[in-house]
């Protein structure tokens, strides 16, 4: 019996990953980059490539110092727009900085995980719209933690009756992030992919270029209603955002 217990123990033995960050977030190869900030966000840097998720479907590479030095101030500046109370409510505490983030072999700017209060950010993603991408990904955390405030069915009904979104964000070729000259209810082509991406696009513009959005909605009623729905949801979480 003793031998059997010993054998079972040996089989079930877990090797130490004497890494407290891993034990907390279940992401390997991370190190503290910046622990203290005004809004309590903690920045973690990737010091070696990692694979996580089901069948290791999420991969990201270690950061290069030159890229990190260039991008971190941008990331920090944009995240400082959110207060700690709001971040707590949307369950965001850790920002994981890495390069070339892929999910199921599709390159993505960020992967939010409200359960672990973590947002993995690809610091190399879309140089042109990098700042907007940060807020776009944050919206996914907002929506994920407050689904009832951002009802997708209700939001979809704000579009023209003949418009339909794609089945999923990656099964559409509507990927362009440039601002439309003639919006007609959508700020970018990517907005047309699925409702949550449409909302995230609007939110990202509101955070980075609010005056432009205000100007557009003077002429675009559909967008005006969409903006109001998003603002209304946000005000229920925190009055100081937007």
């Amino acid at each position: 019996m003793r031998i059997l217990i010993l054998l079972l123990f040996c089989l079930n033995i877990t090797y130490v990953n004497a890494d407290e960050i891993y034990n907390l977030l279940k992401i390997p190869n991370l190190e503290i980059f910046k622990l203290k900030s005004k809004n309590n966000i903690r920045y973690l840097n990737t010091n070696n490539d990692f694979k996580i998720g089901v069948d290791d479907n999420i991969t990201c590479n270690k950061t290069k110092k030159i890229n990190l030095d260039k991008k971190f101030p941008v990331i920090e500046k944009n995240l400082s727009l959110y207060n700690s109370n709001f971040l707590k409510k949307i369950q965001l505490k850790y920002i994981v900085l890495c390069e070339d983030l892929f999910i199921s072999e599709i390159n993505t700017g960020g992967i939010p995980d409200t359960q672990k209060r973590t947002l993995i950010l690809d610091i190399n993603f879309n140089q042109k719209y990098f700042e907007r991408m940060i807020h776009h990904e944050i919206f996914h955390m907002i929506q994920s933690s407050h689904q009832n405030y951002f009802d997708e069915e209700l939001f979809s009904k704000l579009n023209e009756p003949n418009f339909t979104y794609a089945e999923c964000s990656t099964c559409s070729d509507r990927l362009n992030l440039d601002l439309y000259e003639n919006t007609k209810g959508f700020l970018t082509e990517y907005s047309k992919s699925i409702p949550s991406e449409d909302m995230a696009e609007i939110f990202s513009f509101l955070m980075t270029n609010k005056s432009k959005v205000n100007e557009i909605i003077q002429e675009d009623n559909i967008l005006k209603n969409k903006v109001e729905l998003i603002k209304s949801g946000l005000s229920k979480i925190d009055n100081n955002i937007l």
């Binding site: 079972l8 079930n12 033995i13 130490v16 004497a18 503290i32």
Partner: protein, 216 residues
């Protein structure tokens, strides 16, 4: 007729050297085996604790570890901790999770006791008092000797297990409920048996007794 051969000076020196080496090896074996050697023991009677109501004494193989509890930071959790201490439920609890120079963890009252150690379930035992709401504190720094309530991957699952940090772990700040700090005996905790490369310890060390100072 047998002719006696006298040892030369160099042979005598070599012989004495070998005897000295033997004595040194023999004594070293017994001295090194004693893991509690050179541990500083605190004389509790000579220490004047400013807040004796919140001092807990954990006795382990190498001596007493003195912990100051912080009810003002985590009132409900400290109250639970004291309840379990006063009931003697931590006595015989295994330090089943020990990460070398990082932390020690004990307090599984169901599957991690000296009289009943179940390696297949250890870490999942309950106190039968129910789980507690996490009392997180963004200002409490988990420096070496910090005592925190352990939890599952979810918040609000604290029950009876606790850990003590052997080094500063900044990432724990605001993540775990603080219970207190070790004020004497950190070196005693450093002698607790580790699992080498395994996170769980086979044939672990145990808490001999855990009492509040006033109960002594």
């Amino acid at each position: 007729m047998i002719k006696t051969v006298k040892a030369s000076l160099s042979e005598k020196i070599l012989f004495i050297f070998l005897i000295c080496l033997g004595i040194f090896a023999f004594t070293s074996f017994f001295l090194l085996k004693n893991k509690c050697l050179s541990v500083k023991e605190v004389n509790l009677e000579k220490v004047n604790f400013p807040d004796p109501e919140n001092i807990a004494i954990m006795n382990v193989e190498c001596g007493n570890v003195v912990i100051e509890l912080y009810p003002e930071i985590s009132p409900n959790s400290v109250e639970r901790f004291k309840t379990l201490i006063n009931k003697g439920l931590y006595d015989g609890s295994a330090f089943y999770k020990v990460i070398d120079n990082t932390l020690v963890q004990a307090g599984d009252l169901e599957y991690g006791k000296k009289e009943y150690l179940d390696y297949s379930k250890i870490g999942s035992g309950k106190s039968k008092l129910g789980t507690l709401k996490s009392e997180l504190n963004d200002d409490f720094e988990f420096t070496e000797g910090s005592v925190g309530f352990a939890r599952s991957t979810e918040f609000n699952t604290e029950d009876s297990e606790f850990f003590i940090t052997l080094k500063e772990i900044p990432i724990y700040q605001g993540e775990y409920t603080p219970l207190g700090k070790v004020i004497y005996g950190l070196d005693i905790l450093e002698r607790i048996k580790t699992g080498n490369k395994a996170i769980y310890v086979l044939r672990p060390d145990f808490i001999n007794s855990f009492k509040m100072l006033n109960a002594n």
